[in-house]
């Protein structure tokens, strides 16, 4: 099964990543590794208050600090550049919005908000200068929690809004109220997820310099180079092509590197002001400010005596901090629209409120709200099973749509394909779920209770959001040189996942050329087609598919050329292992390079070769995007075309004296459609699972009641480590998607929600044996002890 550096590859082979030798020897270049003589370094002075009026800023003594070249305040920013454009504006959905200049003029709305920036010959000098800046603040009342923020008399985060809610709506199908009335049973509960982020190990990094020609060259590790380019051009009032955004190797992104941060234009402004390259690297403490996923759920389920679930009514409140221009808040909407997930529940009423507070703004986080829907749904299913005394597996099986109904409309989603029961049963079998469930009760001791829990996750992918530059299509150019070698230029980018290797596999196979003859270029707005970069597991769905389409256009030219050259019908031409041949005449043959050279050098009077350039550009847009545009009238259909899914079983041991949760076993089965590179897909699945497990067990961006971030380092954030995890046993089932060219559904995001849900159910299976229920994450010892103590009262 192992194939390393094969000459000939096909989709489906576990080819190792092409840049692996550079990465593993330390020779790959990330943004901070680019060195330009005379580069200045930027540092940012941040607000020490969660909410305050700025009464004065005095930079006089700061300017005399050695090495300082420029100091910029909100007034300088206001005079020079426009506000940071929204990644996706709440106004697109009819919500409240605000402008977010890179630096504020008169008011700060969260602790950690940039207030003054300095550029100097070294970072230390820039920081020394900022230490000499005098800012006078008048503290204002602030809110940090949802209950505080939505009170009638709450201080407003944005003075021009009527309340601290950016957006709220209800997504309904059927008649949830009536169905709840008619249900044999009803159950309700709550669950809260903490603020936790993705914490890529490479922090954000920007390096800007303006050329004498007025062009801005901008190295950064954004997930969307073209949208970053558009934003910079808009803010600085220059034509979009006058900005060149380059993303070299990226050290993980996961949503943290969506655009919309204030430091993005600040670096470019500093470079312009100083006439020199300026670099800014986010510190870990700065990175820790970025929030995500702080959701509070309240839900009710109606069900019949046989386990059929007939209705869901749910509400989710997100605490998105001070909104900002980056890409976090829509996670709330996605959370609500993902319900009822994989379950055939005809009556659903899901409300959401995007609540703002004086915490730092969110950015996107892998899972993107789909994980919080999984938590709600999987808790409900367990409640149904418990109330009815049914097997939790049976309740799920009772409510899955059967495989023969796909493609299948369910809760505003046209589910592409799947066999949910097979995937669940495989996970149940692999983990020995039923035996473990019995054994957990027997193994219980005075100090330890054991639990096992299932998490099933539906992961809508390939988001196509109208009203913003967040679309579900992408474009690739495939070019064959006279040598027969191939260059692929694609609008999708790699955050470190290695999708360029997967795209090269597809292209090498489509054209029948050697794997090493294919070069994939990404992440340079001067060379690649306009595209939307990396999000929503889209790389192979769209980048791979558009490259395949372009290959097929190219192939038409190559077939015509070979047919003309040999004077044989086009249908007889085949391409294999770098050679062109003719079915039925083994004497005819040449290399693809010879054919390409012939096309460029010998005029061939056939229609397909006028013009003869061996280059094609194709845009791929999957089927299944026939949804209604979301807007002020509400959201009816989700903007996702594909629906991977996965089943997870977690096993835990809970120490009832210390509250410590130890994960002792983990099994999961995934269906993301056709798999182009099984080794990469498995790695993505593991990574997503670990990101869910981290949030379930320990990771948290904790705030104090004073509105200050407490987890400023990894020591307090508690990222998951190798010793926190058991062997992750995973398997795959493939039901190709009928709505994408390659049959792929998207890999990378699926797994976060299933992991969170499985741990939630496993912990509750354990602590339920002593009468307790855990209703909040993370399952750190204090939260578990609190749940146990509550049960003892």
């Amino acid at each position: 099964m192992r194939s390393l550096d094969e000459r000939w590859v096909t989709p489906g082979q576990p080819v190792r990543r092409r840049d692996g030798d550079l990465l593993v020897t330390g020779h790959a270049l990330y943004v901070d590794d680019f060195r330009e003589p005379g580069t200045l370094h930027m540092a940012v002075l941040r607000s020490p208050h969660p909410h305050a009026r700025i009464s004065s800023i005095d930079t006089t003594s700061a300017m005399s600090v050695r090495g300082v070249r420029a100091i910029v305040t909100g007034k300088d920013v206001q005079a020079a550049i426009g506000p940071v454009p929204h990644w996706f504006d709440p106004a697109n959905f009819g919500g409240n919005t605000s402008d977010f200049p890179a630096l504020p003029v008169d008011e700060v709305v969260y602790a950690g908000q940039p207030v003054v920036a300095a550029a100097a010959e070294s970072k230390a000098q820039a920081e020394a200068a900022l230490a000499a800046v005098r800012v006078e603040y008048v503290p204002l009342p602030f809110v940090t929690s949802v209950p505080e923020a939505i009170r009638e008399d709450a201080p407003l985060v944005f003075g021009r809004w009527d309340r601290n809610v950016a957006l709220g709506d209800t997504i309904s199908f059927g008649d949830a109220a009536g169905a709840l009335e008619r249900a044999d049973h009803r159950a309700s509960d709550t669950f809260s997820i903490q603020r936790y982020q993705t914490a890529p190990l490479e922090p954000r990094a920007y390096l800007a310099r303006w050329g004498r020609d007025g062009r801005l060259t901008y190295h950064c590790n954004t997930q969307s180079p073209h949208q970053m380019r558009g934003n910079l051009a808009a803010m600085f009032g220059v034509p979009e092509p006058h900005v060149r955004v380059i993303t070299p190797k990226v050290g993980g992104a996961f949503g943290h590197k969506f655009h919309g941060y204030p430091e993005e234009p600040l670096v470019a402004l500093m470079a312009k002001t100083c006439g020199a390259p300026v670099k800014w690297i986010e510190s870990r403490e700065e990175a820790m400010l970025v929030g995500a996923r702080e959701f509070e759920h309240d839900f009710e389920v109606g069900f019949m005596a046989d386990g059929e679930i007939t209705a869901i009514r749910s509400k989710v409140w997100s605490n998105v901090g001070a909104l900002g221009a980056a890409g976090g808040w829509p996670m709330t909407v996605v959370s609500a629209m993902t319900i009822p997930g994989p379950y055939e529940i005809p009556n659903t009423e899901c409300s959401y409120e995007v609540v703002v507070s004086n915490k730092a703004p969110w950015n996107g986080a892998r899972g993107y709200g789909k994980e919080s829907a999984a938590i709600v749904l999987e808790r409900m299913v367990e409640m149904v099973a418990e109330r009815l005394g049914m097997d939790p597996v049976a309740v799920r099986l009772r409510n899955f749509p059967p495989p023969e109904v796909f493609p299948h409309w369910l809760g505003g989603k046209r589910l592409d394909s799947g066999n949910y029961a097979v995937v669940l049963e495989r996970a149940v079998e692999m983990s020995g779920y039923r035996e473990r469930r019995r054994a957990c009760r027997d193994e219980r001791t005075d100090t330890t209770v054991f639990g096992v829990g299932i998490g099933f996750e539906l992961t809508p992918e390939g988001g196509d959001w109208h009203g913003g530059l967040l679309r579900g299509f992408d474009t690739s150019t495939v070019r064959m040189d006279p040598s027969g070698d191939v260059t692929v230029l694609t609008g999708v980018t790699s955050p470190g996942t290695g999708n360029e290797t997967g795209i090269a596999q597809v292209v090498a196979f489509e054209l029948g050329v050697e794997f090493r003859a294919v070069t994939v270029l990404q992440g340079d707005t001067d060379t690649v087609p306009y595209g939307f970069g990396n999000s929503s597991s889209r790389s192979l769905n769209l980048g791979g598919a558009s490259a395949a389409l372009a290959c097929r256009e190219l192939r038409v030219k190559l077939v015509a050329a070979a047919a003309y050259t040999w004077n044989v019908p086009g249908e007889t031409i085949h391409f294999r292992n770098g050679r062109v041949g003719c079915d039925g005449d083994a004497s005819l043959g040449m290399t693809i390079g010879e054919l390409a050279y012939a096309v460029y050098t010998a005029p061939m009077p056939v229609r397909e070769l006028m013009p003869p350039q061996l280059e094609a550009t194709a845009t791929y847009w999957p089927a299944n995007l026939d949804h209604d545009p979301p807007g002020p009238g509400g959201i009816t259909h989700t903007p996702y075309p594909t629906f991977p899914y996965s089943a997870h079983v977690a096993q835990v041991a809970v120490d009832v004296e210390t509250g410590l949760v130890k994960l002792v076993g983990y099994d999961a089965v995934h269906d993301c459609g056709t798999v182009v590179n099984p080794m990469f897909v498995e790695g993505q699945f593991h990574g997503a699972i670990a990101m869910g497990l981290g949030g379930a067990l320990s990771e948290m961006n904790a705030y104090g009641a004073d509105g200050m971030l407490q987890s400023t380092t990894f020591k307090t954030y508690l990222p998951i480590r190798a010793t926190d995890l058991p062997d992750l046993r995973t398997d795959h089932v493939v039901t190709p998607s009928p709505v994408t060219l390659l049959g792929t559904k998207g890999a990378g995001e699926g797994g976060v929600g299933g992991a969170l849900a499985a741990v939630m159910n496993a912990v509750n299976d354990a602590v339920g044996q002593v009468g307790a229920t855990l209703r909040r994450f993370p399952a750190r010892p204090p939260a578990v002890l609190a749940a146990l103590q509550e049960a003892r009262r």
């Binding site: 192992r2 990543r17 593993v24 020897t25 190990l201 993980g252 996961f254 870990r284 470190g496």
Partner: protein, 170 residues
């Protein structure tokens, strides 16, 4: 216009990846700063400057060391190996080979810590258990792999390093 940094400086003489170097740096400079900024060996990364993540890992006189917690001045006379110095004459170490073959990294940012800790483990234990491997790399964060394929790759490297002592580890 170049300012002379008035902070006290010194010259550190040491061996980096087998080459004798004399590096002028601030007295307070961290080893990671000397490696990255003065020697331009950018394979040693910065992820937290706090000893938490391990992406700045090097070896100092054989000892696995987080170079953000180590003053450059302390490396006087020492033999320092960075990730660039692991593949001798361009041949990947078995650990590097196994990590690459087995998707033991994705974005690659955490590679220095995983490689040095795995090499260190395998030098003293040719048949490590899962638990021993997890313990050995527990000072290194990885946000991409969930550690699973790193653990598998280190097992793979262990069998390749010592073909006479193959063990069933799963």
């Amino acid at each position: 216009m170049t300012h002379v940094d008035p902070a006290p400086h010194r010259t550190v003489s040491c061996t980096v990846n087998g080459k004798d170097v004399q590096v002028r740096c601030r007295d307070g400079a961290l080893l990671v700063e000397m490696i990255r900024d003065t020697l331009d060996l950018t394979g040693t990364h910065i992820g937290c400057l706090n000893g938490d993540c391990g992406v700045c890992t090097v070896r100092v006189d054989g000892q696995v060391t987080k170079s953000c917690l180590y003053l450059a001045a302390r490396a006087e006379g020492a033999e320092v190996t960075t990730i660039e110095g692991v593949a001798e004459e361009g041949t990947l170490h078995e650990v590097q080979q196994a990590l690459w073959n087995g998707e033991g990294f994705q974005c690659g940012f955490c590679v220095p810590g995983q490689v040095f800790c795995a090499m260190d483990l395998l030098e003293s234990n040719t048949t490590p258990s899962d638990g021993q491997i997890r313990h050995a790399i527990s000072g290194n964060l990885c946000r991409c792999t969930g550690y699973q394929k790193i653990v598998e790759a280190i097992h793979d490297a262990s069998t390749r390093l010592d073909p006479t002592e193959k063990t069933a580890t799963h």
